[in-house]
Symmetry: C2
Subunit: 548 residues, 2 copies
């Protein structure tokens, strides 16, 4: 460690710790009358948001919540959830955003593992809780959330209903200062094997992620994605990495926010049209669902910017969106990284191109955002050349990466090697610092001594006009080690044969994009491609199914 | 302190400290070929910037600089200075930005007080150094900076010339990680009494100030002030609060930067025109000088946005700028605050107004930027109402405020009271959170039991068409306690009498803006109004001169 002039405690006595309460100051100051909308149900202003957060803090304190406790939430994407994003950590408690798409057994596992003290649960999830309640070990208090006039029927005692509790709570709470390294949030990431793993983020980490996002999203485009006149609607669950952290950023900047509740494609498109939404983020599947609705045909989409993450954005999806006037951006990160690591970077020259010609830039994984140190390395941890060809594992340093897995320090040791977080993603990097993810390390298809990217193949297959989606996995092969195997879904009313797809891929062989041996040996046309609870292709399940 | 779940060291082992080296990552990644210009002399790219910073670190290390040492710079506003902004702190050393406008005695005082180890000095300041060198107590090494082919003649030994040292240095330096609370920069702020006081900022503070600035400047306007296609030219000395921290922000975002060297108005306007500068910042005096040049008449100024700070922006200046199409913004802060605390906030509705009608919004002190907690308080430290009328002292909390004065902890205790930094400024706050500075506490004129804002009076006088500038101070008066006294400068070729000014002010009395007793009892027309070394009106000197 360098022998720098470190401020002694007395010389640094008035240092303001980085706390989530600071993220709530500027938005309501800039735009006190700005709206926060709950689907087609209700709306209120930023001024109200502040009051409701104070009320919620009082209500939770009345319910027995103390600093250091864990408060779990099971809700759809609502302004209530946004209030919890602030009030729970601001109290000094830990917010556990429960993944409601997990199986009841997994939800039970995460509640017990996180040691939840209080759970806020929406009517729609009461049946799950009824089924597991007797095995929940640490929860002392249940609070009900409802979108009806009256909370749902429940067989056990609850502390009351959210709105009723807020109504009788005082609208001023004195939020304390505390150590910025206090845990603010936790949630569970599901691998394809084993139990879910808990990641956790401190106040400091969330503040820094928010500031970097505010400084980066949109400075590099013809229009900033988040500015005073923007309208933001998340289409990524709030339980999943705090909806990628964007609600914190939108609140910091005082931007209009529209929370859709449940993800019904027609509702989403209606909200989009009605509120002139300018910025959203979602996984490719949801984007496809929205683009397939009838009502989108009559929408003006020329001001809708969508950050795509979760899985790679295909050229096919980006082209189709461009035809509708929608601007898609790739965002890259993972649960462990809070999540933002890199995103599409368009130069002033790039944005003068016709939108359709921007696809090759938009489908890349983008450039690391401010404060992120990113490298691609070989199995020995040595950087590989940034030549756009060489492949290496993406590793990162940034001030907002999960430090380990909760109560599983051994797994954390796999995650962190040599001071860098190892993402498990394989990518190339161009001389201009643009990253392109090629595959998950474990999904790379090793055939004939070469590494073949399953993502590249999926991308190429999805460019066939009849294809809606594709998943490619490696299956064991005696001669070649592994051979690619493709699952394909077709667009409604479209038709294609295995031969059609092979012909389509042959064109990529002819143009030198892939080798002949990259064409999948086997294909299967299916109704649905198996996905994980957060919408990623479940390749482990596919491989298991093929084995069976 | 709340009993939160604080991460134990083992649970937080991979936390990335906030270091200035992180501010240098994203800009060169986003725009490696982006230009950094030195007046009409030379230019290079961001790629070159990175290499030169690495070379400088090697050159300084060769010159004996170690972590914890202090490296002073005496230079004009140049890309060299920008290189020092990064290389010196990234080494773990402290950058002392010497105020070259101080008297030689004061420069000597600051060098000895800061305990400078190495000084980088431009030819133009060698005469100062020749005069004080024998009394400089800690400096071991001198490095010369020049804009000529050969460095200036000097009577003592130097380590060499900057460019020559860089030319022979290696372009890779392994910058270490260290404690984010290490001092990164220091400089001296001059009051009107006593010796200059040293403020200091840590790596952490500068990183956070930069991130907040990146997230705030320009999200709240029709066009972001700092975005990919912006061109930035500072017109505030780099020795003065790191040119308000904007060079760090511009570098973070990869924006084109134009460094003007010396502040010759014609040169500044030429650079402005040639490079289509879109963002600058300066004090009102410099703005006036630039607006008075011949060449500005042929410039397209419709894309020039200027942040005005240092002293209050008058309505007269803002109106005159608007007539030329220039957009002025008020920025508020001080040396002790790194400096940004608040800035003009325009809503999407505000910017639809004709520019001339935006003046009343632009001349206000603005809204606190993200992460700044700001209050106005009475002498007991209690908040006064936010009604746009009540006056209180501005106090602040933010993660980037100087913690004390170097080796003067007693002065730091005056600065920090009750956990808040006391600015010494008196202001009112509107219900919509807009701040308006009324005066310095010590410049408020106490007359007949009322507090009269000297700034308000100066503003009103300056709206007279013949007036170029005004300074109002309180002078002792037996009957009223104090009475206002005005110094006035007239525009070239214009004329006005004391009676004209009184008539002009009477209109404000008639409209109820001020009371009759606010009209200055005495006025004097002068050639120049005394200013401090950073361009503020020197009211102490004016009061002293009047007493004499």
């Amino acid at each position: 460690m360098a022998n720098t002039k470190i401020l002694k405690p007395a010389e640094n006595a008035h240092q303001y710790p980085l706390l989530i309460k600071q993220l709530l100051m500027s938005g309501p100051r800039y735009n006190p009358e700005q709206e926060i909308v709950y689907a087609n149900r209700s709306k209120y202003t930023y001024k109200d948001l502040v009051k409701r957060i104070h009320r919620l803090a009082n209500a939770l304190t009345d319910a027995g919540v103390k600093p250091g406790d864990t408060v779990a939430v099971m809700d759809w994407d609502t302004p209530r959830y946004l209030e919890c994003f602030f009030a729970v950590p601001m109290l000094g408690a830990v917010l556990h955003t429960v993944n409601v798409r997990l199986s009841p057994e997994q939800i039970l596992y995460t509640m017990n593992h996180a040691e939840d003290d209080v759970v806020l649960v929406h009517d729609d999830f009461l049946p799950i809780i009824e089924g597991i309640k007797d095995q929940v070990s640490t929860v002392k208090t249940w609070i009900q959330l409802t979108d009806a006039n009256q909370a749902g029927e429940v067989s056990f005692d609850t502390h009351g209903e959210y709105e009723a509790l807020l109504a009788k709570a005082d609208d001023h709470f004195e939020f304390p200062d505390f150590d910025e390294n206090s845990v603010a949030t936790t949630f569970y990431t599901t691998g394809t094997t084993g139990n879910p793993k808990g990641v956790y983020f401190s106040h400091r980490q969330l503040v820094l992620h928010t500031l970097s996002m505010a400084g980066s999203i949109g400075h590099f485009d013809e229009m900033p994605l988040l500015r005073s006149s923007s309208v933001y609607m998340p289409v990524t669950p709030m339980f999943h990495v705090h909806a990628w952290g964007v609600p914190y950023t939108a609140t910091l900047l005082g931007i209009k926010q529209v929370y859709p509740g449940r993800y019904e494609p027609e509702l989403l498109v209606d909200l989009l049209k009605h509120h002139k939404v300018s910025f959203s983020h979602c996984v490719p599947t949801i984007m496809q669902m929205m683009m397939a609705t009838e009502s989108i045909k009559t929408a003006d989409l020329s001001n809708w910017h969508v950050l795509i993450g979760g899985s790679a954005m295909t050229k096919g999806l980006c082209d189709a969106a461009a035809k509708l006037g929608i601007r898609l951006y790739t965002g890259y990160g993972m649960s462990e990284t809070c999540p933002l690591l890199s995103m599409t970077h368009l130069t002033p020259q790039d944005v003068t191109l016709p939108l359709e010609q921007q696809t090759p830039i938009r489908v890349k994984t983008g450039v690391a955002v401010p404060m992120v140190d990113l490298e691609i390395v070989d199995p020995d941890g040595k950087p590989v050349p940034h030549d756009g060809e060489s492949k290496g594992e993406v590793v990162a340093r940034a001030p907002w990466l999960t430090q380990s897995y909760f109560k599983q320090p051994d797994k954390g040791e796999e995650l962190w090697q040599g001071g860098w977080l190892h993402t498990g993603d394989v990518a190339s990097m161009e001389p201009n610092h643009t990253l392109t993810i090629k595959d998950r390390i474990k999904d790379v298809i090793k055939t004939g001594g070469e590494w073949l990217s399953s993502l590249d193949l999926e991308n190429m297959i999805s460019q066939h006009p009849a294809v809606a989606g594709a998943a490619v996995v490696g299956i064991p092969d005696e001669k070649w080690g592994e051979r690619p195997y493709a699952l394909i879904t077709l667009k409604p009313g479209e038709n294609a044969s295995e031969e059609d797809i092979q012909k389509h891929l042959q064109a990529f062989v002819d143009s030198g994009d892939i080798n002949k041996w990259a064409i999948p040996s086997q294909m299967r046309f299916v109704e649905d491609i198996p996905k994980t609870s957060v919408g990623k292709i479940n390749k482990k399940l596919i491989r298991d199914q093929i084995q069976d």
